[in-house]
Symmetry: C2
Subunit: 177 residues, 2 copies
DNA sequence: CTTATTTGTAATTATAATTGTTACAGATTT
DNA sequence: AAATCTGTAACAATTATAATTACAAATAAG
């Protein structure tokens, strides 16, 4: 996973937590193992990303039985750019790391500084695009794609989601036997 | 080198060829070994990037003695976005490649499609920023940073550059002995 | 037309970055 | 006290990328 897939995984996590917050209020804390199964990876990988999301005040975690993580704010108030910035710890989408160019070379001696500003502008524009999309928009879009009409009363959505969750857990049990 | 450093290296190459085209017209073909020394890497690495630049009609290459590559168009007519697109063969700055998310999961099943559009918008905005900068602007900026006043007649610049080239080659000879 | 030079690319090795895994202390609930 | 879960370190495995070696094909110059 590079920065990009990390962003996608982080958004996956956030969307999952958003779903719980919005439609399963009795179960807002989701543990890393559940998330890992959803993403199809290892719980520690998830916890590492959660750690970054926590630093960015996007989630809150709790240890102990029935612990896990929950979303820290309303999904409508969370912009994708915040998720992006949370996982982008290097600070540069365009990370320049080719070994020192020849110092005698006219071009090599200055190209990095010369490109720096342009690349920073590029990254800014990426963040701007991402800031125009909220987590709620993504969550609703996902539900729609899953065939769930988000215009209907949320209680009905909750029921459907609980049913799907049940289905999933049953199928897991079948796999084990 | 990732896509980003490849872009930086490709721009380095282009700026070098631009310099030769603009100020050393008697020597527009530069071979991969020279370029490699300037970038401080292996000639084959350079030839691979040149190959992409060639596919994008940004350079022309010639084999045999005194061969090498030259810039295919006026630096003022080349936008950085063209260089970016030339090396970005995967087509996506935000390449999603985390293993299949759990198909039973509501989120995992749809998040990739859901994010796709936003990520494509982000990449478009990057290209737009890069399209606003020409290779000539970069080349001039580099020369200025190197202390060469690009407002003076180009013949004087040519002299200075030839002198610097000489210096560089002398220093190489010294290193060998 | 032979020799030297340079490209173009395949094949391989080396290196670096990332992910996955194991392990365990610390926190929290029951 | 026992069980569950987080947080993180340490290490192994995997993957991606770059570097290197090698050599056929093209071209230029004598």
């Amino acid at each position: 996973m590079n920065i990009n897939s990390q962003f996608v995984v982080a958004t996956h996590i956030m969307a999952l937590l958003a779903g719980h917050k919005l439609y399963m209020p009795e179960y807002t804390y989701v543990n890393s193992e559940m998330i890992a199964e959803s993403v199809n990876t290892n719980p520690v990988v998830i916890r590492r990303i959660l750690s970054k999301l926590r630093d960015a005040d996007l989630v809150v975690s709790k240890s102990g039985p029935n612990g896990g993580s929950e979303i820290a704010r309303q999904p409508s108030k969370i912009k994708l750019s915040e998720i992006y910035e949370a996982v982008d710890d290097k600070g540069t989408l365009f990370h320049m790391h080719y070994g020192q160019p020849n110092r005698f070379c006219l071009i090599g001696g200055h190209i990095q500084e010369s490109l720096k500003e342009t690349l920073e502008n590029a990254e800014e524009s990426v963040k701007k695009v991402l800031s125009k999309k909220s987590l709620l928009q993504i969550a609703n879009d996902i539900l729609e794609r899953a065939g769930i009409d988000t215009v209907q009363p949320s209680e009905e959505i909750s029921k459907k989601l609980r049913l799907m969750k049940q289905d999933y857990e049953n199928s897991k049990l079948e796999l084990q036997t």
